[in-house]
Amino acid sequence: MKKVLSRIYLAFIFILLYAPIAVLIIFSFNNSRTRAKWGGWTFHWYISMFQDGAIMSALYNTLIIALLSALISTLLGLLASFSLIAMKHKKRTVIMSLLDIPMLNAEIVTGISLMLIFIAVGQFLSKWGYTIEFGFGTVLIGHITFNLPYTVLLILPKLRQLNVSTYEAALDLGASRFLAFRKVILPDIMSGVLAGFMLAFTMSLDDFVITHFTKGPGFDTLSTKIYTEVRKGIKPEMYALSTLLFVSILVLLLIFGRGRGKKTTAVSQV
Amino acid sequence: MSTKLIDLQNITKSFDGNLVLDDMNLYIRENEFLTLLGPSGCGKTTTLRIMGGFETPDKGRVIFDGQDITSLAPNKRQLNTVFQKYALFTHMSVAENIAFGLRIRKKSEDYIRDKIKYALKLVNLEGFEDRTPDSLSGGQQQRIAIARAIVNEPKVLLLDEPLGALDLKLRQDMQYELIRLKNELGITFIYVTHDQEEALTMSDTIVVMNQGYIQQIGSPEDIYNEPQNAFVADFIGDSNIVNGTMIQDKLVEIFGVRFACVDTGFGNNNPVDVVIRPEDVELRLLPDIDSGDQEKYDEAVRKITRVNPGYFEGTVSHIIFKGMHYEIEVQSHGFEWLVLSTRMFPVGSRVLMSVDPFNIQIMNKPASEAEMAVTMDEHL
């Protein structure tokens, strides 16, 4: 009886979670420009999606920003972790709580604060004739900023578990500092570094709020594109694209196995 | 003779198709310190969990004090468990941990306070009431786990490898503590361990288990001195276990050499397992062969054959000083004999070795695991 009840409950939540996604996927095959009507099955939107310049450029921007911000924030996070681990406890606590602000603060406030600083610096620089252009660069900086605490969060614990004597043993056996780092330390913390990179990449892919406040006119990622389209009527091509993205993430997750959820994992694993 | 407090009858249990316990019968008497001893996966912990109520046997019955408790929930049983890795409530103080069972039973706060005091005194941790479990060492956590269990005045305390996580010195201290506790409380202890030394030190009765079967039940002395099969002999202490042939009663042949022994009833010309404890092997140095001193050689043989008409020649291949004695490896007939001796024999020296007939243990070769199992009738 208890087992049946819990099965029913699982099924209920499962349907609640997946029904909307299923609806989106079905719409991507709807042979009708409006979603109010079912016009039969079609693959048309999947083809025209690739011919739509605006969608393709948003996709390109999304991917390149995700890749670059993940790379840079992982690198910065790696440096930060090495520097943090060498610090005294008190100093580390202070710096870590500063670093965690973008993670704990509301996204809208982080977005606004970045927008304001870009404007302020832009006004300051305009005295010498320079300007700050809102677009690729500012969005990238925004993404690196909110990714940074997560990469540190995943790399630092690995560094803590590290056995210092293996590094010293490598030095003792004649390895140079660089070689000892590459052959001994890096393999041990690699899982954390990779997890940090993956988390940063997917968080960047998914971000809307920070991008919304740091992007300029004429620059779009997929999220901001969806946002503007929703207001003036969404193109069916967007359903097709989201279906493709969802399926590719699904496949990636199934390949890499136990992909857990994004930032909750990072936060609750600590 | 005291009565059976717990009686396990025909217990069978399997997990995912793996048989963990097969038709096991065992009883535990009141006030006994009984140890379930065996390697991991032998079914000892499952046996304990069945008594505690955390597993239900597929077949068989658990009788406690004359009542069938096979399907009784753990919280209704008059036994308490000390778990592996202590399982303390980390969100509560030491006092709250100890008071847990008493509060559930709605005892008065005065009673609870006295009990906490008494229990902490018993485990030598007076004044630890307000500490949190996280701030305690492994040994201290272990004592709190014991205190938490015994304040409920159980008739039986079940202990599941309670010392497994402690270091050697602490483990030895805790063994004495446990014996003292048992004597002071006057209740039954059922103890699970894979550590034969622990079992030999503390128990009144040892139950040796392997692969879901009871191999032998007996006092520590019985188990050590008269192992009933090669498994027990091998598991308890170090042993030399070799193939032999029982020529006739009181005569066994090992590697083509005939040794006098004291065992009878194994038939004639039957294959048997022969167990010889390392401390029972007698060694005698042979004079240097190159010097060819026949007289000295004969002298040595004469002396060794006083011990037993049968003897081996061998070469010392390894020797380690162990304080009280030397641990020596002797190569003979392609077998590596382990010998404990108070005398030093340099590596490479030739030796004669023999064993007092009384110290040669003869055992039937088992045809199968099931045949190795013994029944409760042998629980004396």
Binding site: Y9, L10, P20, I21, L24, A36, L76, L79, S83, M96, S97, L98, D100, I101, P102, N105, A106, E107, I108, I112, S113, M115, I117, I119, G142, T145, L153, P157, L205, F208, S223, I226, Y227, V230, I249, L250, G257, G259, R260, G261, K262, K263, T264, T265, V267, S268 | G52, A73, P74, N75, K76, L79, T81, F83, Q84, A87, H91, I104, R148, N152
Partner: protein, 276 residues
């Protein structure tokens, strides 16, 4: 290599980053929030929250985010319990199934609800086919609360699941062993031990729900405004950064209050968020 130089190379870049893109921007918000267009000190941007329309948005945001957090908790806890009780092996896969929706773009997930709830949406079409009256669902506070619950449910589920999974089964057995029944074991042992997960779940749902403007945009139309919408419009439509910053400061006060409350209930989360 020189030791101080090495320290500087390691520690320099991210310290500069923290200063330039985390701390100084926050002070910029404070500066804009406490000054007028001429740069003179004023509290009028803070008191600007006092207009009936904005107060209404703030109160509605608080009510909806509290409701959404409570419902997420009520829905997630039993789910997490069921998942932890499942046999290992299958668990990893099943947990993944409940987390996968989180990997889909959150705007799309909200959009999906729009297509379900709107006037000629999927639900109303199904109702129509069954000859039942159409329901007015979109552009109501209920729709927004539903969107919040849907969007943030996994953020509640995962921390609770992780904290439950970390409980040593023998600790639960010990409670039974000491005489506690199922109910007592749950309230005295399992629930207190899962509290860190519950607390981080609550913060991870409450703060985003309180400050969202996308969910209310998509499911509330322009009819239902949350405080997030009010602030967002100050920046993107009105263009009054001073008022926008002032309102953000008020919002941050609520975020800080919620964190302080949580910290009070659980010392662990403080450690978690500050040390790591």
């Amino acid at each position: 290599m020189n030791k101080t130089l090495r320290k500087l190379l390691l520690g320099g870049p991210y310290m500069v980053w923290i200063a330039a893109f985390i701390i100084i921007p926050l002070f910029t918000v404070v500066y804009y929030g406490l000054t007028d267009k001429t740069g003179a000190f004023t509290v009028s941007n803070i008191t600007a929250m006092g207009t009936p329309e904005r107060l209404k948005a703030l109160i509605l945001s608080l009510i909806l985010s509290l409701i959404a957090t409570a419902i997420c908790l009520i829905m997630s806890y039993p789910l997490a319990l069921i998942l932890t009780k499942m046999k290992t092996g299958a668990t990893g896969f099943i947990v993944t199934i409940f987390i996968i929706p989180m990997w889909m773009n959150s705007l799309l997930r909200i959009l999906a609800w729009q297509t379900l709830l709107e006037r000629n949406g999927v639900i109303n079409q199904i109702l129509g086919a069954l000859h039942l009256p159409k329901q007015y669902m979109i552009n109501t506070p209920y729709a927004i609360a539903l969107g919040m619950i849907y969007d943030f449910l996994p953020f509640m589920l995962l921390p609770i699941y992780n904290s439950l999974e970390r409980i040593d089964p023998n600790v639960v057995n010990a409670a039974y062993d000491l005489g506690a029944n199922r109910f007592q074991t749950f309230w005295k042992v399992i629930f207190p031990l899962s509290l860190p997960g519950v607390i981080s779940g609550i913060t991870m749902v409450f703060v985003p729900a309180l400050t969202t403007f996308v969910i209310s945009d998509f499911l509330g139309g322009s009819k239902v405004l949350l405080i997030g919408n009010v602030i967002e419009q100050q920046f993107t439509q009105v263009g009054n950064w001073n008022v926008g910053s002032g309102l953000s400061l008020v919002l941050m006060v609520f975020i800080l209050i919620s964190m302080a409350v949580m910290q009070h209930y659980d010392k662990d989360i403080g450690e978690r968020t500050t040390i790591l």
